[in-house]
């Protein structure tokens, strides 16, 4: 049973990676570099892993961990988006997102401990 679950997961992730590498994906922006487009979609796949953990996580601590990791990943999205589009303000969005993600993670950790926010 465990081996069947392993095999299913490996097959799903392998199919997604092969789709990302071999197929031309439609994109909203005009990308100047095909390799960076592939890199961006692999990062989106990592974001879907985090969303899966947020949906499925058995305890609230799992969900908070996944939200923290997703906030760090979005800084990576914004950094990669800034290169092929030539727009420098994407990194500003990333910095603001990382700051708010850090503050919200600390607040959620305090809430998990069972203390109030004003202590």
């Amino acid at each position: 049973m465990i081996r069947l679950r392993w095999l299913t997961g490996v097959i799903i992730i392998g199919i997604l990676l092969l789709m990302i590498i071999y197929y031309r994906l439609s994109s909203l922006l005009e990308w100047q570099s095909l390799l960076l487009e592939r890199c961006f979609f692999i990062l989106l796949l990592c974001g879907f892993f985090c969303l899966w953990r947020i949906l499925k996580g058995p305890t609230p601590a799992d969900r908070v961990v996944a939200i923290d990791i997703l906030g760090i990943l979005i800084l990576g999205f914004c950094a990669i988006l800034g290169i092929p589009t030539g727009r420098d303000w994407y990194i500003d969005i990333g910095i603001a997102w990382a700051l708010q993600s850090f503050i919200s993670t600390l607040a959620l950790a305090k809430y998990l401990e069972g203390r109030d926010f004003d202590e």
């Binding site: 997961g9 992730i13 390799l35 960076l36 890199c39 692999i42 990062l43 796949l45 990592c46 974001g47 892993f49 985090c50 899966w52 953990r53 305890t59 609230p60 601590a61 799992d62 908070v64 961990v65 996944a66 923290d68 990791i69 760090i72 990943l73 800084l75 990576g76 950094a79 990669i80 800034g82 290169i83 420098d88 990194i91 500003d92 990333g94 910095i95 990382a98 700051l99 850090f102 993670t105 600390l106 959620l108 950790a109 305090k110 998990l112 401990e113 069972g114």
Partner: protein, 111 residues
């Protein structure tokens, strides 16, 4: 030359990010997931930001990327430590095959 080195750093960071998120969905326990995901995703994103700095050079975006790297290195361990402590205090059980739990022993040893 700079762009080739920057691309190398971005792909390296992408590999770290991918395996960190794979650990996030694969490992059995909150603490295992936390220690697998936080370290490797932090290193991977710092590597991506350094690659962006190599692409952009000493412009506004490049210096912002270096500042974001410093911010991430400083704040990510703090958030991970607070989360692990909060999870342990809120009563999340360890995995059944875990070897030791030093924090529980320390809490019992204190007066």
């Amino acid at each position: 030359m700079n762009e080739a080195v920057g691309l190398f750093f971005i792909i390296l960071g992408l590999i770290f990010d991918f395996f960190g998120c794979l650990g996030l969905i694969r490992l059995p326990d909150v603490y295992n997931r936390l220690q697998a995901a936080t370290k490797s995703v932090t290193l991977g994103t710092c590597s991506i930001l350094f690659g962006l700095f190599l692409f952009k050079g000493l412009t506004a975006a490049g210096i912002k990327a270096i500042l974001a790297t410093l911010f991430l290195i400083l704040t990510s361990p703090v958030a991970a430590h607070a989360l692990a402590r909060a999870a342990h205090k809120s009563g999340v059980k360890l995995w059944s095959n875990s070897v030791c739990d030093k924090y529980e022993e320390d809490k019992n040893a204190l007066p």
